[in-house]
Symmetry: C2
DNA sequence: ACCTGAACACCGTTCAAGT
DNA sequence: ACCTGAACACCGTTCAAGT
């Protein structure tokens, strides 16, 4: 056997050591494959072929594992910078799309990620640059930029939450909505009933991509109005 | 002792029986007082002075308890109808404010509520009427109403999630953001740094009420633009 | 420094038995 | 029909002991 030296090259099987990174990677795999409930310290240790207690030398507790996962997801976000070649609102939409796509990579983690304030504020800070850039070009005041960015992020979070929840289960959004609305007493929600019923299954056909684009258009239109009002 | 009859008036102590409603009420109290993690079947049974297994005669499992809680929260929503006395956008904002306030009543449950698709779709159906009403008055097409309502709800959900997460922990948003941004390498996020740094602690002072109103204004402005474009 | 085994104080839930 | 006790198969984490 070659490479018997202490530290050169890929560590031999017996030499592999536990590390925070290795633990988090294994944890992410479990969550992606089997959902957040499948992630237990004991299970995680088992997949790493290690005693459960060994984990505690690298991460203080399970909460830290979850926080670490949220961090991982945000670190995986790659927000492109289309630059000034494109109008500010398209630039803003691109940033939003990239952010949503990042969150979509790990749907089973969406809830954890979106509710982990420290993870959010930690990396949101960096991922927000493209948003600020585009909003600055739109001609907003600093305060308006701050508020518009928050609003946009909130929309993306809410949208992503819904998307992740629906994907976790599997049901058809449109027929379900239609059924529920039709089950309502006639006078309970007249406008809702008229609109939804009028749209029908095909009119309600809900595509998450379209829904997201629709939201982005509404928001950029609203932001444009704010800019004019400055 | 008066009132010894079988069913009239308040049931006597010995007569009280377990019921789905009683269980959920007790569960809600635990979650409100001590957080979602404090809710265990055994703990719940203890506060009801009952054997843990008794609960299973009224609810199939713990997931059903959580789903029931989400349902409770939505059922507690009261969306006022300001009627036509007010312009459509103010009517829409009122519906949004009421919805947010409903979600705020039980911050420890926000995550559960917002990610419980069946609870959401179940009662959202009813609570959406005021939104549809206002959007209809705005002159949108049925499809536009559907999409605008979804966008608005997504924003409220994302906003509420952030609000609940921040309240659960206790830290100051503005100084925290400022600290994080100042810790960034100078060229990492130039626009973000310039804007946030320029605003300073007082400029960043974040009030959730103001943030919500700002989002609502942006969204209604965007919706108004959509209506014009019809 | 890193890993382990045994143990503690919990979980949710099944099942057979009580009334 | 409703409730219970004992039991099963798990949890996260502490602690003292190993190397």
């Amino acid at each position: 056997m070659v490479n018997v030296g202490k530290r050169s090259g890929r560590p031999r099987a017996g030499e592999e050591r536990l590390s925070r990174e290795a633990i988090l990677t294994a944890a992410l795999r479990i969550v992606d494959d089997e959902g957040i409930d499948a992630l237990t310290m004991r299970r995680l240790a088992a997949t790493l072929q290690v005693n459960p207690m060994s984990l505690y030398h690298h991460l203080p507790n399970k909460a830290a594992v979850l926080a670490g996962l949220a961090e991982l997801v945000f670190a995986g976000l790659e927000l492109p910078d289309p630059g000034d070649a494109v109008p500010w609102d398209e630039q803003l939409k691109e940033a939003a799309r990239a952010y949503r796509n990042g969150l979509r990579q790990h749907p089973n983690l969406a809830l954890q990620v979106l509710s982990d304030t420290s993870a959010v504020s930690d990396v949101v800070v960096v991922t927000m640059e493209p948003f600020y850039l585009a909003l600055d070009r739109a001609g907003l005041s600093p305060r308006q930029i701050f508020e518009a960015a928050n609003t946009l992020i909130d929309f993306i979070h809410g949208f992503s939450l819904g998307e992740a929840s629906v994907r976790a289960q599997t049901f058809e959004l449109a027929p379900d909505l239609l059924t529920r609305v039709r089950a309502l007493p006639a006078d309970k929600a007249p406008t809702l009933t008229r609109i939804v019923d009028g749209l029908g299954v095909e009119g309600l056909a809900y595509d998450f991509d379209d829904g997201f684009e629709s939201g982005l258009s509404t928001l950029t239109a609203g932001i444009a109005a704010t800019a004019r009002r400055r």
